[in-house]
Amino acid sequence: MPHPHRKHLLTSVQMAHFVATGALRMDAVVPDEMNQQAIEVLNAGIPAVPYGTPLSEAFVDSEFVQRLVQLPEVAGAIHSLVGPEPTVDHHAVHIRRAHEGEAQNLHGDAIIDVRTDAFDVQLMYYPQDVTLEMGGTLSVPGSHLRRTNESDTGRYQNLLGQTRLVCPAGTVQLLHHGIWHGGRKNDSDLDRYMFKIRFNPTVRQVRLWNTDDLYDEQVAAELEQNFPWYENATGRLERYNRIMMWRAISGDDTYDPNYWVTRVTNRPQRVVADRAKNPHAGAQKKEMA
């Protein structure tokens, strides 16, 4: 895979948005001509890829997918998040049939994954216009750092501020591996298609994006944002965990503009107590006149 042009890499503000929300959405980024082809290609099936195949080798038998991941904006976002030459974990074509009566439970993919200094990314490509009725993917902004295992969250039907995806054809989402999501019930007359690829990084995910705006104040604003479904107290812990993630990917272990981490890790070691006030100290010698 060629290195994407710097102008197609994500900015620091976009990366901070990803750290806060667990998602990055690019509307209509795939050209119409590809979207027109997609249903036929997806119906025919995408050849299986062994786990851990380098992205540049994974889709040699699928020209369509090669074009998809090499679109400049898509390639730039993949590089920014997981770096050069990630491996393909797996891919899948998801089809929610017209009037399919079941919604998926809210879940995280694979198994509980609590890495704090690395993350996988899932690309989701929607080749059609997706209406609310078609049951576009439900996802919960800011849920990716919650330590839960797969569908143990299935009891949660709706969370305030959830995203019920409605998007134009050619939209691509890139999601953190931990995000809570699920395919919604399709109440329309159309089958709904989505193609997913999970990427594993092969390098340390540190400053892989365009860092020109690393100290833009909008970075802090993104990392500080609240979501309506957060409980008052736990919402503060979310900020703590985002700071830890930002420190990991920016390589700056002092970053903490609002002191969420700093104040609770402050353990000063310098001792200034007067010896005379220490009851375990021996009798004080008389000072010289």
Binding site: R155, Y156, Q157, L159, R184
Partner: protein, 98 residues
Amino acid sequence: MTATAETSQVTGLRQQVLVLYLASSALDARVVGWSTYDGTGETHPTTGDSDEPPYKTGLDALKDGWRLFQAAQLNPPYPGHEYDVSFLKHEFFFEKLV
């Protein structure tokens, strides 16, 4: 015939369950999440079917006739995991018998 079927035939009642997730452990805190299950089988609530909570607060559900039958306990975090985030903590189960 099962015991459950016998009971519902005798009483004619079915349980509707409302689960509310609140912003704090106070029952009058705002609703941040919700789920419903309908023992009458007349409605079929499911994942991602609404963006609007049925009530603004847990107390509003009581005012509308829902009976609280379970509230989440307040447990201290496990030592070493004080900053972890996981499931929603303030879960309240309500019922109506209809």
